[in-house]
Symmetry: C2
Subunit: 438 residues, 2 copies
Amino acid sequence: MRVLELILKKRDGGNLSAEEIGFLISEFNRGNIPDYQMSALLMAIYFQGLNARETTALTAALAESGEMLDFSSLGAIVADKHSSGGVGDKITLVLAPLVAAAGVPVAKISGRGLGFTGGTIDKLESIPGFSARLPVEKFMELVRENNLAIMAQTERLTPADGKLYALRDVTGTVENISLIAASIMSKKIAAGANAILLDVKMGKGAFIQNREEAFHLAETMVRIGKEMGRRVVSVVTDMNQPLGFAVGNALEIKEIMAVLNGQGPSDVEHLAVLLGGYLLALVGKVRNPEEGQEELSRLIKNGAALKKFKQMVISQGGRSECLEDLSLLPQAKFVEMIKAPKPGYLHDIDARKVGKVAALLGAGRFFKGDEIDYSVGVVLNHKVGDSVAAGDVLAHIHGNNEDTLKTAFKEISGAFSIGEEKSPGFPLVYGVVPPFPS
Amino acid sequence: MRVLELILKKRDGGNLSAEEIGFLISEFNRGNIPDYQMSALLMAIYFQGLNARETTALTAALAESGEMLDFSSLGAIVADKHSSGGVGDKITLVLAPLVAAAGVPVAKISGRGLGFTGGTIDKLESIPGFSARLPVEKFMELVRENNLAIMAQTERLTPADGKLYALRDVTGTVENISLIAASIMSKKIAAGANAILLDVKMGKGAFIQNREEAFHLAETMVRIGKEMGRRVVSVVTDMNQPLGFAVGNALEIKEIMAVLNGQGPSDVEHLAVLLGGYLLALVGKVRNPEEGQEELSRLIKNGAALKKFKQMVISQGGRSECLEDLSLLPQAKFVEMIKAPKPGYLHDIDARKVGKVAALLGAGRFFKGDEIDYSVGVVLNHKVGDSVAAGDVLAHIHGNNEDTLKTAFKEISGAFSIGEEKSPGFPLVYGVVPPFPS
């Protein structure tokens, strides 16, 4: 099979067979196909697209490029949850212990943050002692013992996806729904879960801002999952304003614990319970999502979810005293307030701008491998739709460097927009794919 | 300037500025832009195209990537001729001495053949002693002294074009008229001629088979030339059947000398005189192409063109006795005849098939750097339109290897098609761009 012929086939609008896609990915992974041919093929795919069969074949080829976890010895359906990424998106760290506390094993492999969206692993690593660099064997053992473990991505799983993504990132071939869906789903398939909840973020603070694209991605991933024998539900949710109030690693850990304690921002609790309810219904633990949501609310109230979270953190090396006394988590030296310049209603809190300010303060990475400052970030005081008086505090900025703090202060003002008329705010959820029950 | 931004700009249908194109080519040439980014950009160009300004800017950037010859000290307009490549296409080696004999300096830089089309340099190198590997200084000196020199492409001229073409060749990004036109024209611009005749071949034995594409290429190159201050005329000519009778290096040298002696196949003489007439008119040596054609016919009859050809060969090291006794040129060991299986009219002699058979015999290269057997090839006995009797010899096959000869014998049968009705044959010329005089 000659690579050039396959490039020409795709360039000219043809369809690649599963065998051809398998050849391309495995040879690329072995270093036998040069980057310059793969990037030309990726650009041809950008223009000509991949059909459903090709997308599934690509997912399978990427998943099979490395180790594939198998939880079948557990004798239970294992759950996984993925978010396409957003600002202040801490839902995984509320949902995972909730679902685990409900008796469903959760095996979660997460990435680190890049750009203006934060990563689940970075948030957890803000807890002193916590390690997400688990050997695969330890990860599987913890899922077996505690129903819950969270591991950082490893080269042992889907190595071809890592290489392909690195190439897409520098060749202008990221923004293609089939390539995005195959990349996400390959990681989920290799991670071994049978039931997968996908949270597709849409809005200013997400990489998808368009409703049609968001649903196209949601549907594509559900279809791939079905074709590969997994139970999958996708939910398209809002990412115009940040989720909750806290944006920044240790700041978000505090908010997560507040939510698990029944005292957190209602949007985070609602969304985690809503999505968790779908996941419980998907694995067959409950008859319908509503029943699941009731059960999860109960597990917040009775403290079981918080207990499960603490168990997970401590099992992975996190120091327990930091969870009892949150002031032991990393704290920034300076806290600045930003106040409302005029009275009115909050029409917008631009999630992308808030995310960029948090990254600027040190909470995120501009380049892979950048060091993160776990203590810094932004804590909002309001949600879109709230009324504010002139001089009301809109947010606190936590920073360790006075110059950066000044820049952050200037930048974040542009994130807030206050109008005279009442604003309806944003819905939390735009839709579920497939319409539940499927 | 970030390369990724420029890839995205082109991918999304934007236009690159001359400055951006200059940056891309010069940095690529210096090795500062990796192949994988350039190939992604090339594929984006394949889909989004380049407009007129971008194509001219690309031509200029490629030309300026290396040395640029300057013949202004000659005080005369220097002529150049280029063919997009065909089977049995020996027109350059008839036209160049003709035009030089008419008093117009001809400075010709040629490539070697690849695939089923032969290269001018390969034909010349079949003459023992001949060298096309001239230092640039020697090349310019010969043009000054003899009005004629032919040199092989060198890394010193348009090195970025060589690198870019090598990448296009393996990434499915060859077939784009703007890229093809810029590649050809950059070499012509760097080679320093002020008047350029472009022969765009169209038909089964050319890389362009479609009329619209051929004229698009012809027009694009004329426009680039004009924008860069050169006099350019493009002629779209037939390449459905081979030019002349001989296909193969030493075999073609014999045919060239026959033509220059007034005894060669009429299509070769006609086309060389026709194109040469345009070139004489273009440099202003004659008032119109017809006058130029008359002059060139006279220079064949009086032997001046043949004398000029011999002078050029000998000046570049070719052994003069080989030109006096053509049996001293490389000769193949075996000659096979292929005969007409039935009487009728020749409807087709498929140039591509004949070219492939010649290459198979050893006259061409399948890979860059392949050794060439100068003695082998095919000599046809007829042109399309001729009537043949059953058993008439259609062609002689010259080879040095009995097995290859057998395969060639089988393969070439498929090139001939004999019908009962008279065939009109093919026109020699499809059109001239711009319509002359411009």
